[in-house]
Amino acid sequence: MKKRMGFKVERRPVASGRVVFLVSLLAIFAAFVVAGIFFRIYGVSPIRAYQLILRGSLGSRFGLAETVRRVIPLLLCGVGLTIAFRALFWNIGAEGQLLMGAVAAAGVALFSGLPGPLLLPTMFIGGFIGGAAWGLIPAILKVMLGLNDVITTLMMNYIAIYFLEWLIHGPWKGPTARGFAYTDTFQIAARLPTVYGTRIHWPTLILGLILAVVMYVVVTRTRSGFEIRVVGDNPDAARFAGISQLKTTLLVMLISGGFAGLAGVGEVAGIHLRLLGPNNISMGYGYTAIIVAWLARRNPLAVIVTALLFGVIMTGGDVIKVSLGLPFQLINVFNGLILFFLIGSEILLRYRISFSLRR
């Protein structure tokens, strides 16, 4: 405890929910203010820009549809990441898990020869397995050999990216147009229905919302959720209580990878209807989902809100490009700033300043 003049800085034992919420808002606000500086540089008033973004992403039918369409993968990946983060497994590999889910789904769609009605369910199952398997590899490496989860999941992302590239340029190559490679288009039975006039593949959206609620219940009310929370908070106590860290880690990565895989299924079966290059399937959803999960403070229900926020931001990128002629890349600046201020603001959560009249 340091005493300085009339106020002291001391460690805060635990931050109340209210404080956490306020600090998060502060971080987002700070990011918006700093980003506003860039708007100024382009001669655009930040207020006007933000108004346009909000109107564009939520106010018009088309904008709202685009926002929701982006929310879907953020939601699925984000929920999965909250589970992984709860067990202190730093899954940076959601991007790769998403792509592998997409690959699996495409594989089923294009080559399985299954009858129509079975296709979509099998694609989802396959996508889940694909993403889960991709996530389990780093989990096994961590549990058995102690390998750093950040680095392994990160590397797996790039292996997935190039694997996908190889597939669409090689064995799964379909017609190539204008230098971009992709596979054949999926048959009708392998396509997800969308809301009329939009690109919202609603089955995946509903799946995501259901999973968010389910995972919230799992974390707070089930035995497995309890074990995950114990392992994530105090691995020593977990061992003391006879909870297997091995099983818990594998379980969370099964879920986290699997959910990201489901997001991948949604993207290829709902939007692109074929397997594309990695940059086209995922616009960094796996990485943005990290911020989504972080901001949601690892609460699966809160992910619904934070995923929406980032959906708005991403659509906002299109809006400012089209309406204001500003580069889409501004979104990355946004995201980077939000993430940055979030972790920077955590120091406010760990310490508090209180004013006192006593010396």
Binding site: P13, V14, T222, R223, S224, N234, D236, A237, R239, F240
Partner: protein
Amino acid sequence: MDNSEGYAIELRGIVKRFPDVIANNGIDLKVRRGEIHCLLGENGAGKTTLMRVLYGLYRPEEGEIILNGQPVQMNSPRAALNHHIGMIHQHFRLVSTLSVEENIVLGLDEGTGPFMNFRKARAKISAIANEYGLSVDPQTKIWQLAVGQQQRVEILKALYREVDILIMDEPTSVLTPQEVDQLFTTLRTLVDDGLTIIFITHKLDEVMQVSNRVTVLRKGKVVATLLTNETDKPTLARLMVGREVVFRLEKSPKELKEKLLDVNDLHALNDRGLPALRGVSFDLFGGEILGVAGVSGNGQYELAEVLTGLRKATKGKVLLAKKEVTNCSAREMNNLNVAHIPAERIRMGIVPALSIRENLILKKYRYSPFSHGEFLNYKEIEENAHRAMSDYQIAAPSCETPVKLLSGGNIQKVVLARELSENPSLIVAVHPTYGLDIGATEQVRQILLAQRERGAATLLISEDLEEIMTMSDRILVLFNGEVMGILEAESADIEKIGLMMAGTRHKGEKL
């Protein structure tokens, strides 16, 4: 000779306080130049704290440090090194991936900019090593060395920095007997060369073997300073553990039930792969408390861990109610109704961010009524929590308060409530009242005594000899992983116990 000039070090009136304990309570210590001076005492006596004050790691609230007649301020280890004082800690401060010579020169300014003249350093190291017989290949990496050799590197490190005074904190705790002999030879050579050595230990044999003078500390105060050749082990033991009349708690007479625990020739290794238990055997009956006395580091933790399924035994058998349970897992021991009150309650015993009610079911969450299938039954969990909180007088705003917000005493009560609620047959309690205030300590002891009355068999491991003497029916003393003796508490002589704790086997057998 009592003038300050003869003394290399003089500590006057050192007082060092921590939030809940006075570690050094007005200590005066005088160390003569060129002697080996032992600091003897149990855990918590204040020896390490005192030396850390001397070494600049701690700043005392009161008192002075006088070196060679001049008062000095020790603000940091750097200052101590500038005054030619070196300290070798119990846990070595070495970087395992670097080599010997790299570790020795680490942190030193060799004068000529950022670049290193290794040749010069190597020559100096060789010279020192040869002079004192501390042979070690300077280019080997630390992780490749045996512990005894690593200690030599620490000594070389100090000598390289031209210390006059060397403080060693329990240096033999990690050494084999041969390495201990080598160390003592080295120390005598150093002293012949004019070094002054302060040696912290709890082992009487060592004191008698190697020191010129010994200062005994107890509960933060100096009890006596004696010339080693004018004293003997029983005297030192008595001074070390004290002679006060021990206040005995109201305790019902012992009512033994059947033999519950049969431990036979138990062997186990510690975290470093060295033997921690070397053939421990004892029985434990229902309705009694067997206190395990001994200075920390002699195998107590490992014993508790083996008995509760957290550590593997390498040899020997454990029978619980005639059933073999050697090397059962923690979960299996839970199921057999063995309670474990761990030494580090925060690190091992609780999940800090989780609520009281959730911590209370940490071991039972898998079973009904606390869960039905996969789902937890929070109504039952909450009722259980209310019951526990009232039974054990746990003070908290609600049962949903995160456990990390509770005071130490309440945290311990949560642990107790959790462990003892199922009426366990065997209780392994390690330092159960450590760090608790008087009121909480009282409550915890009463709870344990109530369990005893109920017929549970309790193994009470504690560094607080008073606690052992007060609570136990029988007392077992562990030293160096072996049982030195088992005594009835009522007839136990504190001097005898002290001797055993410091290495003398009961019934007069010397080590």
